[in-house]
Amino acid sequence: MIDLQSVGVRYPDGTEALRDIDLHIERDGFAFITGPSGAGKSTLLGLVYRNIVPTAGKVVVDGQDVAKLHPGRVPFLRRKVGVVFQEFQLLPRKTVWENVGFALDVVGAGRREKYHKVPISLELVGLAEKADAFPHQLSAGQRQRVSIARALVNGPPILLADEPTGNLDPDTSWEIVQLLLNINQQNTTMIVATHDREVVDRTNCRVVQLLQGYVVRDAKEGGKYDAP
């Protein structure tokens, strides 16, 4: 489903964010990405929803080479990929409800579909009662959960989550991770970048560890946050 072949990313200022990455995530697969601050986790996720175009190698998502994608087709790739952004990226002038609904709006979903799906999604992240609040009226953890709800709402085949629990307490974090694992069971390919040792260690999933742009470890199953 997601295939990185000798991928390198070099930002315009010369920073080598990723170097020679080979990574394959099969359909309905799951992987944690770990690594210290600045290791290249967000950059790696950015490749999948074509926020970043590789400067070397090839990124294939659902059979498509993203670098060769016609610009006009990019939105359609992004609709297949739900993303929980590390910095939330909520629309400030829309309510929580509208922010989540927006992911349905872009695919032209009808009113009925929205009224059906949005509340379910908000319920899942425990924010039903904040539906009419604007983002600036929320706590950071609540904003993060809105971002999660938006990524889930139209059941995308691929889900990327970038530090989805960075602003959540351990209990809520655990709930969210279980939610993500559940969704993964329902035919969703998933990559979760995280630095939450507790979460990674408790789940026994595949763990890909980055360091200065290199993959330094790829523990196929039963991976731990740190190298064994």
Partner: protein
């Protein structure tokens, strides 16, 4: 596009305009001011052109006949020219009387009939005073009248007429040029303003793109917002300009008898609608131009 999408995009544009209160106000304000200036200039230009044309309308051609000319024949020939709008015969006696009167002489004195031979030969010829339908044509009609058999001399207030004609023409041409420049300036102000409102929300555009919105899906609400801003700006401009113009027209009509401003409720209504239309067009064009930079293939 599905109906729900259309509905969504429309309501998005409206919502954005409302929730962005301050930005919307700024856009409307700049649009209104720009259209106000454009509208004032257009009204001013139209009136100056109108007045210059009116003045030129008063210009006439004087055609003096030879001693033995057949005035009836000449008149027929004059009328043959389709550009001619009016012909009036002035006999030599009439001409002398008018001249004498104009300098304060007693006309009777000059016409004392002392028998076969007048005391004093009337040196003035018979003449025609010719008007043209369009003052523009005076030089041409004068030239052609000179060709007619029996015509001794053709005169018209060449300098004045040409001045006025040149003026009217100059106003018309420079009016079009200035009008177009002003329209461009207005468009620039409006589009720059809308570009700024879009710039202020570039982050939102970025987020929409990240969530998979197509460029048109992002653009349409902005364009609708631009149209609404332009519409409101045009309406404000019309609402300010038209009453002021009516008042000025009224005041000028009462206080400066020789200046006569155009006034017709229908024309003003059309003018006002024109302003609103300009606002709408410029608003739409402004958004499109403004979006160009921020909404493009990622």
């Amino acid at each position: 596009m599905r109906l729900s999408t259309v509905e969504f995009l429309l309501s998005e544009g409206w919502e954005a305009a409302v929730r962005n209160g301050l930005v919307t106000l700024a856009a409307i304000s700049n649009t209104a001011v720009a259209l106000l200036i454009l509208g004032s200039l257009v009204l001013f230009g139209i009136n100056v052109e109108h007045m210059a044309a009116l003045q030129a309308q008063a210009a006439v051609i004087t055609i003096e006949l030879e001693e033995d000319a057949d005035s009836g024949e000449v008149e027929k020939m004059l009328w043959a020219n389709p550009l001619v709008g009016g012909v009036q015969f002035v006999s030599k006696e009439e001409a002398l009387r008018r001249t004498a009167e104009s300098v304060g002489l007693d006309a009777e004195l000059l016409q004392i009939d002392t028998g076969d031979e007048p005391l004093f030969a009337n040196p003035l010829p018979d003449s025609f005073i010719v008007r043209t339908t369009d003052p523009q044509d005076i030089p041409q009609v004068a030239r052609e009248a000179g060709q007619i058999k029996g015509v001794a001399m053709v005169r018209y207030a060449q300098q004045l007429t040409e001045k006025l004609l040149a003026l009217a023409q100059g106003i018309r041409i420079s009016g079009v040029v200035v009008g177009m420049l002003m329209a461009v300036a207005t468009l620039m102000v409006i589009s720059t303003t809308i570009r700024l409102t879009i710039y202020a929300r570039r982050q939102e555009i970025r987020i929409m793109q990240l969530v998979g919105a197509t460029n048109w899906f992002i653009r349409v609400p902005f364009i609708i917002e631009g149209i609404l801003d332009g519409l409101a700006g045009g309406a404000v401009a019309a609402a300010i300009l038209l009453p002021i113009y009516s008042y000025v027209q009224d005041y000028v009509g009462k206080n400066l008898q020789f200046v006569d401003l155009i006034y017709s409720p229908e024309a003003l209504l059309i003018f006002g609608l024109g302003l609103v239309l300009c606002g709408i067009l410029f608003g739409a064009a402004g958004s499109l131009m403004g979006l160009h930079r921020y909404v493009r293939p990622a």
